[in-house]
Structures are given as C-alpha cells and as structure tokens.
C-alpha cells in the first residue's frame, strides 16, 4: 500500500460514486431520492476536481469546485420548489406517475 494515495484511486472512487448516483436517478421512483442521487453525482465530480487540483498542483480545481457547490445549491433550491409544486398539484412525488407529457 503506497504511503500517498495515487490519483487513480481517487478517480475510481469518484467513478463509483457517480455510478451509484446514476443508478439512484434511474432506479428510484421518489422524486426526492432522485434529487439526492443527483447531488451524489455532483459530489463525485467535485472529488475529481479536487483530486486533480492536488495532483497537478493547480488550485483551479478547487475554484471550479467552489462554483459547482454554489450551482448545486441553486439547483437544489429550485428543484425542491418544483417537487413541492408537483406534490401540491398531483398529491404524489412518484416520477413514474408523471407521464402527462408522454401521451
């Protein structure tokens, strides 16, 4: 086991996290869990940026992560407001039932 963790291990960890988030987006029916899975995917991307910032000795990766966190906050706020409005209208947050655009 190396004393410092190589870059590839962090990237593999980010890949695993991103896959878990993607599976959550596709497989869960509750809209809130889908939004949580999107947050997992965003954090996997953040981890990739931070890892590259460390191993290329370039702080730009951390600056980009700063922006990703801010954008994720804005997206979570608007997404949750949408889910609330949807629940008020349909009395359900089941994404499988939201098929009005399909027919």
């Amino acid at each position: 086991m190396p004393t410092t963790i190589p870059l590839s291990w962090y990237l593999i960890l980010a890949l695993i996290l991103f896959s878990i988030g993607a599976v959550g987006v596709l497989a869960r029916r509750n809209a809130l869990i889908v939004l949580l899975s999107v947050e997992i995917m965003l954090n996997a991307v953040n981890l990739t940026f931070i890892a590259f910032a460390r191993f290329r000795a370039d702080t730009v990766g951390q600056v980009v992560t700063f922006f990703v966190i801010a954008v994720a906050a804005a997206e979570a706020a608007v997404g949750l407001a949408l889910v609330l409005g949807l629940f008020r209208h349909r009395k359900s947050v089941d994404v499988d039932q939201m098929s009005a655009l399909r027919h």
């Binding site: 410092t4 963790i5 407001a81």
Partner: protein, 162 residues
C-alpha cells in the same frame, strides 16, 4: 497513515451513497447522505483542500441537506407514516461525524502542504481567493446573479398564489 484514512473515508462514503439509494424512507436517505458529506469533506482535507472541506460541510451538509430534509418532512407527513423517529441515533451519528472531522482538520491543518512543489497556502482561503477574485472574477459575479435568480425562482414556484 494517509492510506488507512483514505480507505476508512472512502468505504464510509461509498456505504453512505449506497444507503441513499437503498433506504426505503427518504429521511433515512437524507441522513445517510449527510454522513457521507462529512466523510467526503475529510477526503478533501486529505487532498489539501481545507477551504473546500469547510465549505462542503457548511453549504452542502449544513444548508442544502437541511433544505432537503425540510421538504422531505413536509411531503412525508401526508403520504407515509414515519415510524418512531430515533433521534438519539441521529444525534450520536452527527456528533461522531463532527468530532471526526474536527480531529482530521486539526491534524491536517497542522501539517504543511508539502510535496509536489505546492506552497503553504494551497487549499486555504488565501490560496483559493487569489485565483477566485482575479482570473475567475466574472464567473464569481455570475454565480452571485445565479443564486439571486434561484432564490426568486424558488419563492415564485413555492408560493400558493402569486
């Protein structure tokens, strides 16, 4: 030492992510993700990104997940029954996570940002701000506008009558 910490935090992070998609109740998923964010912040500290680690806990775990939990509680009360809240478990987990993060941050901040020719200010406020307010100033200002638009949008979407 760093390898042991990496494995602990990585395993806990993956476990919490799996918990998000496998728990039936959204409250459990949100709590699992909050725990995962603490371990992710600890990984950021291992990667010499101390400011981002602090921001991760403050913004992601402290604001975004609180917003999520609010909405989950709002919606859960009317559709399914939350059986017997075990608040003591949440509090214990939260204290443990906060304590672990504090220990890790204190240990990592005491160490120097050595290796790979990085200066002592990498990952600190000054290191990030020296790039943020010079090269990326436009993006920074646009992020402020984006947050304002998101606030207005969320308020408009959530109101019952305009």
């Amino acid at each position: 030492m760093e390898a042991i910490l990496f494995w602990i935090f990585a395993a806990a992070l993956v476990a919490s992510a799996l918990g998000v998609i496998f728990f039936r109740s959204p409250v459990n998923s949100a709590m699992s993700l909050i725990g995962g964010f603490f371990f992710l912040a600890a990984l950021y500290v291992l990667l010499r990104a101390h400011l981002l680690a602090g921001l991760q806990v403050l913004i992601y775990a402290g604001a975004i997940m609180v917003l999520f939990t609010f909405v989950i509680m709002l919606l859960s009360l009317s559709e399914e029954e939350i059986g017997g809240p075990r608040y003591t478990l949440f509090k214990a987990a939260g204290l443990l996570g906060a304590g672990a993060l504090a220990v890790i941050v204190a240990w990592a901040v005491g160490a120097e940002g050595a290796g790979l020719g990085m200066g002592r200010q990498v990952g600190t406020f000054r290191g990030v701000a020296s790039l943020l307010y010079t090269d990326h100033l436009v993006a920074f200002e646009m992020t402020g506008v984006l947050l304002l638009v998101a606030i207005v949008g969320a308020v408009v979407l959530a109101k019952r009558t305009l």
